[in-house]
């Protein structure tokens, strides 16, 4: 195990590009297996979350060192905005609906999101300071 980890570290250091792409491939494969498996077994939890749990367990258990996935995971997370773009273009399918209700929908989303952010931030900030005061 130790030598395998050392080898992975050496590999990531000497061929960063190759390491990144192979790590992306590994993450995609893990996701694919979890997604297909979950679908076959009619699992209500989506495959992407099963894959995340599996990767997290592997990291926590020391099966895979963090260097062995870092570059690939960072790339996937950094490019996530690109993966969202085609979903936005679904606007074209719903143009009449959005022409009729678009303004109101936008209002609901803007006001709702502001409320959610306010609630979350205030609650977390209060809890954080309450916790710290109790610790002192």
């Amino acid at each position: 195990m130790k030598t395998l980890h050392a080898r992975m570290r050496w590999f990531a250091w000497h061929w960063p590009q190759l390491a990144r792409w192979s790590q992306v491939l590994v993450i995609v494969l893990v996701w694919f297996v979890c997604d297909q498996g979950g679908r076959r077994l009619h699992c209500p939890i989506p495959g992407s979350l099963i894959a995340m749990a599996l990767l997290l367990l592997a990291l926590l258990g020391g099966v895979v060192p963090a260097v062995g996935l870092r570059r690939g995971a960072d790339w996937l997370l950094a490019e996530m905005l690109l993966f969202f773009i085609p979903a936005v273009m679904a606007v074209w399918e719903h143009l009449p609906l959005l022409q009729a209700e678009g303004g109101r929908i936008l209002l609901v989303i803007l006001a709702g999101t502001a409320l959610v952010m306010l609630t979350t931030a205030v609650l977390v900030d209060l809890m954080f300071h309450w916790n710290r005061r109790r610790a002192h």
């Binding site: 993450i27 995609v28 893990v30 996701w31 209500p44 939890i45 989506p46 992407s48 979350l49 894959a51 995340m52 749990a53 990767l55 997290l56 990291l59 926590l60 963090a66 996935l69 995971a73 996937l76 997370l77 950094a78 490019e79 996530m80 905005l81 690109l82 993966f83 969202f84 773009i85 085609p86 979903a87 936005v88 273009m89 679904a90 606007v91 074209w92 399918e93 719903h94 143009l95 209700e101 109101r104 929908i105 209002l107 609901v108 989303i109 006001a111 709702g112 999101t113 409320l115 959610v116 952010m117 306010l118 609630t119 979350t120 931030a121 609650l123 977390v124 900030d125 809890m127 954080f128």
Partner: protein
């Protein structure tokens, strides 16, 4: 033009446009320079010329959306990197995620009813604050239209980047924990990307809050479906 060629052209413009417009955001990070806003704008402008045909557009670009799956799985790494932070602050995070998610569902339902939106749209709005793959799942459970939800999720993301930036300027938030949770619960993946711009601690809190909120919502969806029948 042939359908296959047109689909391929859409793919090239989507990916090419993203990489061309991304440096603009890096130089001037504002919500209106975000690729999530500028690239669809470019595509819409091109759509006026080539025809706004979604099935043709998605034919070759659907695998980009599929990549959201592995990207979600990749969140294991930031969570692992900041496991100490989580161990120390899980009660605050849990309270924030619970309160934020309740507010997300409550505000969407209340405001949509108040604005007189139709039922399918109202149901599709409920899952808009969580990450796309989970939101589409939840939407199907509670009688919404998953595609509409995906669209609302993205609008929430773009709006959330702008709103969050504004809120950080107005609100005196003293902890990275609160700054990160605001983005993670309010604006899912898009907000998380923005939170990473602010700081890596904020970013990891945001990704964790996003994952927690998504999980919570998906697990509660069946109960919510019964409640809203």
């Amino acid at each position: 033009m042939r359908t296959e060629l047109l689909s391929l052209l859409w793919l090239v413009v989507t990916v090419g446009g993203y990489y061309v417009l991304k440096p603009l955001y890096r130089r001037h990070p504002r919500w209106w320079t975000s690729p999530l806003f500028t690239v669809p704008l470019l595509l819409a402008a091109l759509g006026l010329v080539l025809g706004m045909n979604y099935p043709v557009y998605i034919r070759d670009t659907h695998w980009l959306v599929l990549m959201l799956g592995p990207a979600t799985a990749a969140f294991a790494l930031p969570i692992f990197r900041y496991r100490r932070l989580i161990q120390r602050h899980w009660p605050a995070l849990l309270v924030g995620v619970l309160g934020g998610s309740a507010m997300a569902i409550g505000s969407a339902w209340g405001l949509a009813t108040w604005c007189g939106l139709d039922d399918a749209v109202r149901r599709s709005l409920l899952a808009r604050s969580i990450t796309t793959p989970l939101a589409m799942l939840m939407s199907a459970d509670i009688g919404g239209v998953p595609e509409l939800t995906a669209l609302f999720v993205v609008i929430t993301g773009v709006a959330g980047i702008a709103l969050g930036e504004l809120m950080l300027r107005v609100m005196p938030l003293r902890s990275a924990l609160a700054r990160g949770a605001l983005f993670g619960v309010g604006a899912h993946g898009a907000g998380t990307a923005k939170a990473y711009d602010i700081g890596s601690e904020e970013g990891s809190v945001a990704s964790l809050a996003m994952v927690l909120a998504g999980l919570l919502n998906v697990l509660l969806a069946p109960a919510l479906a019964v409640l809203l029948r």
